[in-house]
Symmetry: C2
Subunit: 169 residues, 2 copies
């Protein structure tokens, strides 16, 4: 399944890697519901090793806190699927990496709501870059096939990364 997504989206990786390299940028990911797929897609591009440092796969709240420093109290109060968690994931990844750009993903693939009652299809992405304000974006893909949500989410994350790699304003 993931393999298909990786293959389908692999053509999207090369322009990102090219733009990162030519601008001297490098990237790390922080992924929950996509389980490292964004990093995996990027890894297939030629010369990815020159600008892809790796990624953090953080399924549980406790792992989001331990690996990325996301505030435990925030997640206890508001769950793990919101813009503030996406922001803290991206900024935490940037702190724990030599990368200059970090993209984060937290959401609910479904088919069931998450433990805090967030509906399937709700996804937040974050983009942190040294010296720039962190962006967060909310997507609501609705209660569709989890594989479709996963693919759309990876696709949107790649879109954000391309913008950053090309030097977003």
């Amino acid at each position: 399944m993931n393999g298909c997504i990786e293959t389908d989206l692999s053509s999207r990786a090369q322009p990102i890697v090219d733009a990162l390299r030519s601008s001297g940028r490098s990237v790390v990911t922080a992924e929950s519901c996509t389980g490292g797929l964004v990093a995996a897609v990027l890894s297939h591009a030629e010369s990815a090793s020159e600008c892809l440092h790796g990624g953090f796969v953080v399924y549980t709240k406790a792992q989001k806190h331990a690996a990325l420093g996301v505030e435990a109290g925030l997640m206890q109060l508001h769950g793990a699927v919101n813009g503030e968690v996406a922001r803290q994931m991206a900024e935490g990844a940037l702190r724990r990496s030599p990368a200059t750009v970090a993209v984060s993903v937290t959401g609910v693939l479904g088919p069931n709501p998450d433990e805090d009652g967030n509906a399937p299809g709700l996804v937040y992405l974050g983009l942190a870059e040294a010296g720039k304000p962190t962006l967060t974006v909310r997507h609501d893909f609705g209660k569709v096939d989890p594989d479709l949500i996963r693919k759309e989410t990876v696709s949107r994350a790649l879109e954000m990364l391309l913008g950053a790699a090309q030097g977003r304003k």
Copy 2:
């Protein structure tokens, strides 16, 4: 490609997840050349979310240092593919996770040697568990198809994890 590995090996995940859960253990991975595949395979098991916290994908030496605390000087002197790096990766992952077991992978898939001249097929695995000495294992798969090395490596990591989940002596 990875998708095939994930599918081929997914039947191996359930006994591990079952044993981890029934013994109250939980797991995190620290992966270099396998790029998060060990965690991805585990994630497909039923109830994986109850014992799989996530993983660290650490391609570059700088990321191994920043995310897991692997000594920079060690990697500068001896490269990133050796038992000591595997040990520090597993122990670093354990420190930065609520998991009780961490498995680590560092190796060279090829087809070319790594930047330090390590030959394709050379892989080190580590297994860290709270209160137990960390295990490291060296494999030399030889200069064969990188996909085969990847699959064999994931398979050996799963084997080590099953041992830990069932309570190795």
